[in-house]
C-alpha cells in the first residue's frame, strides 16, 4: 500500500519547496549555495589569484581596468531535507488518522524535494530517532521513501529534544521539516533550538485531528493518555469544551509566536486536509 497514490503525486508535482537559507551539500542541486562556483547565476567579482580557474577571468573587465578579475557565480547545490515525522502513539489518533496524515505529508515533502534534486532524509522519532533513512536523491528514489513511510508504525512516547540529541548529524546547513501534533510533555522548544543550532531551516508542521480541535466528548468520562496511560476523570460539559478549545487556541498562538521568534516556519494542519493543501499551507 502506497502512502500517496498517483493522483496525489500529480497534484503536488508542480510544488517546490521555498527555502530561505541556502544549503550546503555535496551533490549539485537547484538551491543557491554560498559557495561560489560554476553556475549560470552571477554573484560577484574578485581579483584573480593564482590557482583560480583561468576560464572564469572576465576579459571585458581586464580591458576596462587592466586588471584580472574572476567572475564569481552562485553555485547551485542540493538541499539536504531532513524530514522528522512524529511516530509516537499520540499520533495514532483521529479520523482521518494523524499518523497516516503525517506519513502522507512526509511523503509529499520528500516527493517535491526529490523533484528539486534535493537529498531527503527520513528521521521517524518518538522518544528517540528511530533511524535516519536516506539520503534519497533522485526522483526515482521516491518509491523507496514511500515504502519506508508505509512501513512505519506508531509506538512509544514522544520526546523531541532527547530524540535529536542522540541523532547522528552531518555538518552543514539544511532544511528540517518536523511533523508532529505538538502535544509533548517536555514541549518542542529544546528540540527546535537544537535544530537551529544545527543550522537548519526549520519547518514546524503541527498536525492535529479534527477531534482534537473540537472534541466530540460529553458526560462523565475517564480520559486516558495514549502515551503514558495516565487517566483523569472529567465530566465534560459545553463550558469545559469551550475552555479546552480556548486552551488549544492559546497553545497554538503561543507556539506560533515562539516560532516567529526563532525564525521557524510554523504551520497548523489538520489530518483531514489533502496532502497538496497541506504542502501549499507549508510553502505559503
Amino acid at each position: 500500500m502506497k502512502v500517496l497514490d498517483s493522483v496525489e503525486l500529480k497534484k503536488i508535482h508542480s510544488l517546490s519547496m521555498q527555502i530561505k537559507l541556502p544549503v550546503s551539500g555535496q551533490a549539485t542541486g537547484n538551491r543557491k549555495s554560498k559557495s561560489k562556483g560554476s553556475s549560470v547565476e552571477f554573484s560577484d567579482f574578485r581579483e584573480y589569484t593564482p590557482g583560480d580557474d583561468f576560464r572564469r577571468i572576465d576579459w571585458n573587465a581586464y580591458g576596462r581596468f587592466n586588471r584580472l578579475f574572476v567572475k564569481l557565480y552562485m553555485e547551485e547545490r542540493e538541499a539536504p531535507v531532513q524530514v522528522f515525522p512524529d511516530i509516537s502513539l499520540s499520533m495514532d489518533y483521529g479520523n482521518p488518522n494523524k499518523f497516516a496524515a503525517a506519513c502522507r505529508l512526509a511523503a509529499g515533502i520528500s516527493y517535491i524535494s526529490l523533484l528539486s534534486y534535493d537529498s531527503v532524509y527520513i528521521n521517524p522519532w518518538n522518544d528517540k530517532v528511530q533511524g535516519t533513512f536516506g539520503p534519497f536523491r533522485t526522483q526515482s528514489a521516491y518509491a523507496k521513501v514511500d515504502a519506508l513511510l508505509a512501513g512505519l508504525r506508531a509506538s512509544g512516547a514522544s520526546n523531541f529534544s532527547d530524540a535529536l540529541k542522540y541523532m547522528e548529524w552531518k555538518a552543514g546547513r539544511g532544511v528540517s521539516v518536523v511533523i508532529t501534533d505538538g502535544l509533548l510533555k517536555d514541549g518542542l522548544e529544546e528540540g527546535i533550538k537544537y535544530l537551529k543550532y544545527k543550522n537548519q531551516d526549520v519547518f514546524l508542521c503541527l498536525l492535529l485531528s479534527p477531534e482534537e480541535m473540537s472534541p466530540a466528548l460529553n458526560g462523565a468520562l475517564k480520559l486516558v493518555d495514549s502515551e503514558t496511560g495516565e487517566a483523569i476523570e472529567v465530566t465534560v460539559s459545553a463550558s469545559l469544551l469551550k475552555k479546552y478549545e480556548e486552551s488549544l487556541r492559546q497553545h497554538l498562538v503561543s507556539l506560533g509566536e515562539q516560532c516567529r521568534k526563532w525564525g521557524v516556519h510554523f504551520t497548523t494542519l489538520t489530518s483531514d486536509m489533502p496532502v497538496d493543501l497541506m504542502l501549499k499551507s507549508i510553502i505559503t
Binding site: S90, D181, G219, E227, S237, L240
Partner: protein, 603 residues
C-alpha cells in the same frame, strides 16, 4: 427547639449510605485521548481560579448530605421556639377532663396540650414563677410558683387523662385564689373549652378541631316479669346527623344490635326488650368510631333483690311490725325480749332493750336503749328539738319534721357518730362495734309522732337498705373518680375489688374498709367478700359522667356565666414549625445541584 416526631432521625442512616455511594461512585466511560496535556492545563487553570477547590471536589457530596439532613429535620417536625414572654409569673391551667382524650388532634388533645405547655415553658424567662394547675373533677395545684423549668415540665408530664368532667366552679375558685395571691400572674389555659376565671384575662390555647362525637349518656333497666328491659340514651354532639350501630352485651355476650340515626346536637333513646332475666351485667356500646371512644360505652348491673331477714325483739310495737311488713323484700320475725343467743338474721331490731350479748351476723337497730354495757345511758330528756340530717337514712326525706316527747340522755361513745342531737345529747347516732353496725334511736317510737308521718315507711326502708348487710353492700350509680365506702358484711374476713382490667385489689382487712378510690376506669367491678363459708361476689358498675351536661351545669355555676366573655385571647404559639422552610431549602439545594452538575467541569 423541639422535634415532633423524633423517629424521623432514623433518616440520618441515609447519610452513610450517600457517602458509601460516593465511595462506590459510578464507573466512568474510558476514552483514550492523544495526550492529557491540554486537558490537565484546562483543569489546573480552573482549579487555580477556585479558592475552594477542595470543597468543590466533593461539593455534590456535601450538598447531598446537607439535603439529607434537611429532609430528616423536616421529617422530625423540627421547630424552633421564639418570642419572649414578659410575664414574671404564670399560672398554667391544663384541662385533663374526658373530652381532652379526643383524638381529633394527634395524639390526643391532652397530649398536644401538654407538649405545647412544655414548649411554652421553654420560652419563659428563667426567673419566671410558674404554677401548674390541672383541672378535672378536682382542680389540683401540681407545682406552685416554681422557677425550675425541669420540675415544671415534670409536673406537666405527670398529668394523666381523667375520665371525668371538668368542674368549672372548683377550677375557677382555685385559679382565682392563686391569682389573688399573685395578682401579676398571667393565666394561660390549655383546654378544649374556653373556661372563664372571673373577669381575669387569660391566654387560651384551644384544642378542638371537630366535635363529631357520639356518646352514651344514660343506661338503665327495669325488670319486666322474667325479662329485663333496658333503655339507653345517646347524644350526638356533632354538627351533622349520624347513623351508628349500637350493641348490647349481657355478661360480656352479644345480645342485640341496632342501627340508630341521631340528628345533630340531639339525643336519641334506644330501647332493648326481652333481655333474659338471668343476665347480671350489661354493657351498651356504640360500635361506630368517633373522636372520643371513651364515652362510647355504658355499664349496668342488674341487682338481685334478696330477702332481708329482720328480727324484731320488742315488748310489742305495732308500728314497727306494720312498717317492716310493708317493705318489699323484708321478712320480719317478731320475738319477745328474752335473754337468748340471736343468730341467723340480717337486721336485729331491739325495741327498748339491749341484749347482754350482741349478735354476730347482722347489724343492730336500737330504740330507746336502757342502760347497758355498750354505752352510757342516763335519764330522759324532754321534748328535744328535731333538726334535719343528710344521713343516708334520711334520703328523700328533706322535708321530714316530727316531734319527740322525750329521749334518753346518752353519752356518745367513742365508736359512734351522732346523726341527730339536741343540746349535745345524741338523739340518733350510729357506730361500728367489731364488724357490727349499730343504729341507735334514743327515743321510743311510741313517744313520737314519727310513725304517723307518711315518710315513716321511707325512713325504715332507708334503714333496711343501709343496715341490712346484703343490701348494704349494694353499690349504686357510681361514676369514674367517685370514692366508695363499702359496707362489708359483719362476717367478712377479707375483701377484694376486681377492677375491669382484671386486677384485684385487697380492700379489707382492715375492717371497716377504707374508702375505695380506684374507680378511674369505667366498667363492671366486683366486690368479693371472703367469709368462713365461701365468698360472696357483688357487682357494681362505674360509668362516665355526662361531661357535656356536667360542664354545662358547672359552667352555668361559674361567675362569668351569662355575660359576654371577651377576656380570652389566643395564646401566641411560641414555636415555629420549620417543615416548609426546610423542604424549600432541600428543593433549592437540589436545583443548585442540578445547575452545578449541568455546568461543572470536573469532579
Amino acid at each position: 427547639m423541639s422535634f415532633e416526631t423524633p423517629f424521623g432521625f432514623i433518616g440520618l442512616l441515609a447519610i452513610p449510605l450517600i457517602i458509601l455511594l460516593y465511595i462506590l461512585k459510578q464507573k466512568r466511560e474510558k476514552v483514550t485521548v492523544p495526550s492529557l496535556i491540554l486537558w490537565s492545563r484546562v483543569l489546573s487553570d480552573m482549579q487555580a481560579k477556585t479558592p475552594w477547590q477542595k470543597l468543590q471536589k466533593n461539593l455534590l457530596l456535601f450538598l447531598q448530605i446537607m439535603a439529607a439532613i434537611l429532609i430528616v429535620l423536616a421529617l422530625t417536625g423540627f421547630s424552633i421556639l421564639h418570642g419572649q414572654n414578659a410575664a414574671n409569673s404564670v399560672i398554667i391551667v391544663i384541662d385533663h377532663s374526658l373530652s381532652m382524650a379526643s383524638t381529633d388532634i394527634e395524639p390526643t388533645r391532652l397530649g398536644a396540650a401538654k407538649k405545647d405547655a412544655a414548649e411554652y415553658i421553654d420560652v419563659l424567662p428563667n426567673n419566671c414563677r410558674v404554677t401548674v394547675v390541672s383541672i378535672g373533677r378536682e382542680a389540683d395545684v401540681l407545682i406552685y410558683a416554681s422557677t425550675s423549668k425541669k420540675d415544671i415540665k415534670k409536673s406537666i408530664e405527670s398529668i394523666q387523662q381523667s375520665s371525668g368532667y371538668a368542674d368549672m366552679v372548683k377550677a375557677e375558685e382555685l385559679v382565682l385564689s392563686l391569682k389573688r395571691e399573685d395578682p401579676d400572674a398571667q393565666i394561660v389555659l390549655f383546654s378544649d373549652t374556653p373556661l372563664r376565671f372571673g373577669n381575669e384575662q387569660i391566654q387560651f390555647s384551644e384544642y378542638k378541631k371537630q366535635t363529631d362525637n357520639v356518646a352514651v349518656t344514660g343506661f338503665t333497666h327495669t325488670k319486666t316479669g322474667e325479662n329485663i328491659t333496658a333503655v339507653t340514651t345517646i347524644r350526638n354532639q356533632g354538627s351533622s346527623e349520624v347513623e351508628i350501630i349500637v350493641s348490647l352485651y349481657g355478661d360480656n355476650e352479644f345480645l342485640d344490635s341496632q342501627w340508630v340515626t341521631v340528628p345533630a346536637s340531639e339525643t336519641k333513646t334506644v330501647w332493648w326488650d326481652r333481655i333474659p332475666g338471668t343476665v347480671k351485667t350489661m354493657r351498651v356500646s356504640i360500635e361506630t368510631e368517633d373522636i372520643l371512644p371513651d364515652d362510647n360505652n355504658a355499664y349496668e348491673v342488674i341487682l338481685s333483690e334478696e330477702t332481708v331477714k329482720v328480727l324484731l325483739v320488742s315488748g310489742g310495737n305495732l308500728f314497727l311490725e306494720k312498717v317492716f311488713s310493708l317493705i318489699e323484700g323484708a321478712e320480719l320475725i317478731r320475738t319477745s325480749p328474752e335473754d337468748e343467743i340471736y343468730e341467723g338474721y340480717d337486721l336485729y331490731v331491739f325495741d327498748g332493750l339491749v341484749p347482754s350479748r350482741l349478735p354476730e351476723d347482722g347489724n343492730i337497730l336500737l330504740f330507746a336503749p336502757p342502760p347497758n354495757n355498750l354505752f352510757s345511758v342516763g335519764k330522759w330528756m324532754d321534748t328535744p328539738e328535731v333538726g334535719l340530717s343528710d344521713h343516708e337514712i334520711f334520703k328523700y326525706l328533706d322535708k321530714l319534721t316530727f316531734s319527740i316527747g322525750r329521749t334518753r340522755i346518752i353519752e356518745k361513745p367513742e365508736w359512734a357518730e351522732v346523726i341527730m342531737e339536741h343540746n349535745g345529747n345524741p338523739i340518733i347516732m350510729e357506730g361500728t362495734v367489731g364488724n357490727l353496725r349499730i343504729l341507735i334511736f334514743g327515743f321510743d317510737l311510741l313517744e313520737t309522732d314519727l310513725p304517723l308521718r307518711t315518710e315513716f315507711p321511707i325512713l325504715i326502708s332507708n334503714i333496711v337498705n343501709e343496715y341490712a348487710p346484703s343490701r348494704g353492700t349494694v353499690i349504686q350509680r357510681l361514676f369514674t373518680g367517685d370514692a366508695v365506702q363499702f359496707r362489708l358484711n359483719p362476717d367478712t374476713l377479707k375483701a377484694y375489688v376486681h377492677l375491669p382490667d382484671q386486677k384485684r385489689l385487697l380492700i379489707a382487712p382492715p375492717i371497716p374498709a377504707e374508702p375505695f378510690l380506684d374507680t378511674g376506669e369505667p366498667g363492671i367491678y366486683i366486690l368479693e367478700q371472703i367469709k368462713d363459708r365461701g365468698s360472696v361476689n357483688t357487682f357494681f358498675d362505674v360509668n362516665i359522667l355526662d361531661e357535656w351536661l356536667m360542664e354545662k351545669d358547672s359552667y352555668t355555676g361559674s361567675t362569668g356565666a351569662g355575660t359576654e366573655y371577651k377576656m380570652s385571647v389566643p395564646l401566641q404559639k411560641t414555636s415555629f414549625k420549620l417543615t416548609l422552610p426546610l423542604l424549600s431549602m432541600v428543593i433549592a439545594i437540589l436545583l443548585f445541584e442540578w445547575w452545578y452538575y449541568a455546568n461543572r467541569n470536573y469532579i
